[in-house]
């Protein structure tokens, strides 16, 4: 028994898997309406938006050097507004608008990366500043001069725009099947099978050693922050399509939830440690938890509270068990 316990503690992914199965069983037994095909597929669409942000945090935190991206929520918001304004107010072609939105996300992430890598300012500060800047820009974009000086949401989209966020293929939400799962697979290939992945873990766990072995540390970091921008942009597009509205406050508070999920998934805040499998399980656990609680009639505000308890509890349990084993 003790050896099994040790193994679970040592292996974060297994620990999360046990937690996931336990939660699943509890909800399936105690919450009516949980264990149905409709509910199980339906809830996955809510995991996508936060999940993409958590994957973004994973990449950035892995790169070490205090890597963190506080601006994901703001980038999501600004991309949602760019897409919304281009389609709804300018009347641009939706595909082109979405493409421009994604480019904007990449650009903002790139800017974060360049500031982090080439100026020596810590990621925490750079992205705290860009959190403010991007959020503010999103508000400015949202102002429609025809209706006075206040930021306004955009909701007059053509029907075709809702495809990504509201349609299903074989009962599975489109964005899960055609965006989220491919993104996970691509990131898995990137982290586990590509040279870039080796570089990323190298840079994150020992920057000096990576530098001396000829890895371009700056380029690796710029790349992950750019990817973070792209993933946030994807999330902004999907959320706008799902709720059929681009709102200038949509991403507020997402950054901290995304970091929470990445850390819950076993990504070490010090960098260089963590796997995509763990983070995907982290996303699954949180999605499950939110859904189960909602079905059980617990107020939405407790989603946040439970997230906090799971986060602190899981890390604390890990530390306590680790400490006990050392004795």
């Amino acid at each position: 028994m003790k050896r099994v316990l040790d193994y679970i503690v040592e292996n974060r992914v297994l620990f999360l898997l046990v937690l996931f199965v336990a939660l699943f069983v509890v909800f399936a037994v105690s919450v009516p309406g949980f264990f149905t095909f409709y509910n199980l597929t339906n809830m996955t669409q809510y995991g996508v938006e936060l999940g993409l942000l958590a994957l973004a945090e994973m990449l950035v935190i892995l790169s070490g050097g205090g890597g963190i991206d506080l601006s994901v929520g703001s980038m999501l918001t600004i991309v949602a507004m760019i897409i919304g304004v281009l389609i709804g107010r300018v009347g641009l072609n939706p595909s082109l608008s979405i493409l421009l939105g994604l480019f904007a996300g990449a650009g903002m992430g790139y800017l974060n990366g360049v500031l982090v890598s080439y100026t020596g300012i810590l990621p925490f500060i750079v992205t705290l500043a860009s959190l403010y800047i991007y959020k503010s820009l999103a508000l400015i974009i949202a102002v429609d001069p025809r209706f006075g000086p206040n930021p306004m949401p955009v909701s007059n989209f053509p029907e075709s725009f809702y495809f990504v966020g509201q349609y299903r293929i074989a009962g599975i939400p489109f964005q899960v099947l055609c965006i989220f799962i491919p993104v996970i697979l691509l990131l898995w290939l990137l982290l586990e099978k590509s040279i870039f992945g080796r570089y990323l873990y190298g840079v994150g766990s020992n920057e000096k050693a990576a530098l001396f072995s000829g890895i371009n540390v700056c380029r690796v970091r710029v790349t992950v922050y750019t990817l973070s921008g792209i993933l946030s942009a994807l999330s902004g597009w999907i959320i706008t399509s799902r709720i059929a509205s681009a709102r200038p406050d949509i991403g507020t508070g997402y950054e901290l939830q995304a970091i929470t999920i990445a850390v819950l998934g076993g990504v070490s805040i010090k960098g260089g440690e963590g796997s995509i499998g763990g983070v995907v399980l982290g996303i699954a656990i949180i999605t499950l938890l939110y859904n189960g609680m909602q079905l059980a009639g617990i107020h939405q505000i407790w989603q946040l509270g439970s997230l906090g308890v799971v986060l602190v509890g899981s890390v604390l349990l890990n530390q306590v068990l680790l400490a006990r084993r050392k004795i």
Binding site: L115, I125, L128, I133, I140, V143, T252, T260
Partner: protein
Amino acid sequence: MTNTGFRKVLRRREFTVLGLIVVLVVLFSLTTERFMSVSNLSNLLLQLAGTAISAIGMTMVIITGGIDVSVGSTLGMASVVAGKLLVGGYSPFLVLLSALGAGLVIGLFNGTLIAFGNVPPIIVTLGMMSILRSLMYQLLGGRWISGIPPAIRVIGLGKWLGVPISMWITVVLIAFFTYFLSSRPLGRAIYAVGNNPEAARVSGIDLRRTTLFVYAVLGALAGFAGLVYVARTGIVQTNTGSGFELEVIAAVVLGGTSILGGRGTVIGSLLGAFLVGIIKNGMVLLNVPALSEGLVVGVLIILSVMIDVIRARGERS
């Protein structure tokens, strides 16, 4: 000799921030009529007090190499406690103790998990932030608290010699903690823990107690800031204090406290809080849309830190 001493002052981060403040004050008083008016300045100080008080504790936490993103929720929770008791007719003194106590308990909880549970500060306080927000909702039941009795509002709105009482309290706290950090053994220990924990441990500093102490103090100060908030605005909502954590951290970082730990002063953080407050205030007076406030604050954070980085490079070469 005096020349190098003078240069040392010039090189300090506090001086950069002070310079920026002076430039902005001159700029705003030339471009707007109302900036230098007594009512505007005291209004500015009123709004600053809560941030400045919490920034004192945040400075100490960041000096130890930690971070606390739950201050906004702590402030909110303390204001819920204070608001409920005030509306219930309890004596102001008891309310003061309860607000401080609520903050202190939260801080002790954070500190215990960080110091004794070995859980990284960002994780503990992220979790605490969400948990407190949910608890606040539970306590408020989705409603507001209003109708705060006027007696207590003196703390938030009252003035002495034209300066808000909350600002007087802030000044006293800043003076005390400046002395504490520079001259008391525990104050020095806070810097030592941030600079080199291993060396600090070997030289006999109790790392855990020091860590617990800074989070507890920050909690209590945020609790007090919560009371000041209730007294100033007269209203408590579920989202009271949300986003406040980033404001406080921005003030501390602008004031020159290194996020890596080991370096920083509470006076710097006070100046940082002033800088942000003056910019916000001036922009309102200049009729710049409030929307671009974040833009200016964000660019300012980057610029002021960049000045530091460039200066450090110059010194090295």
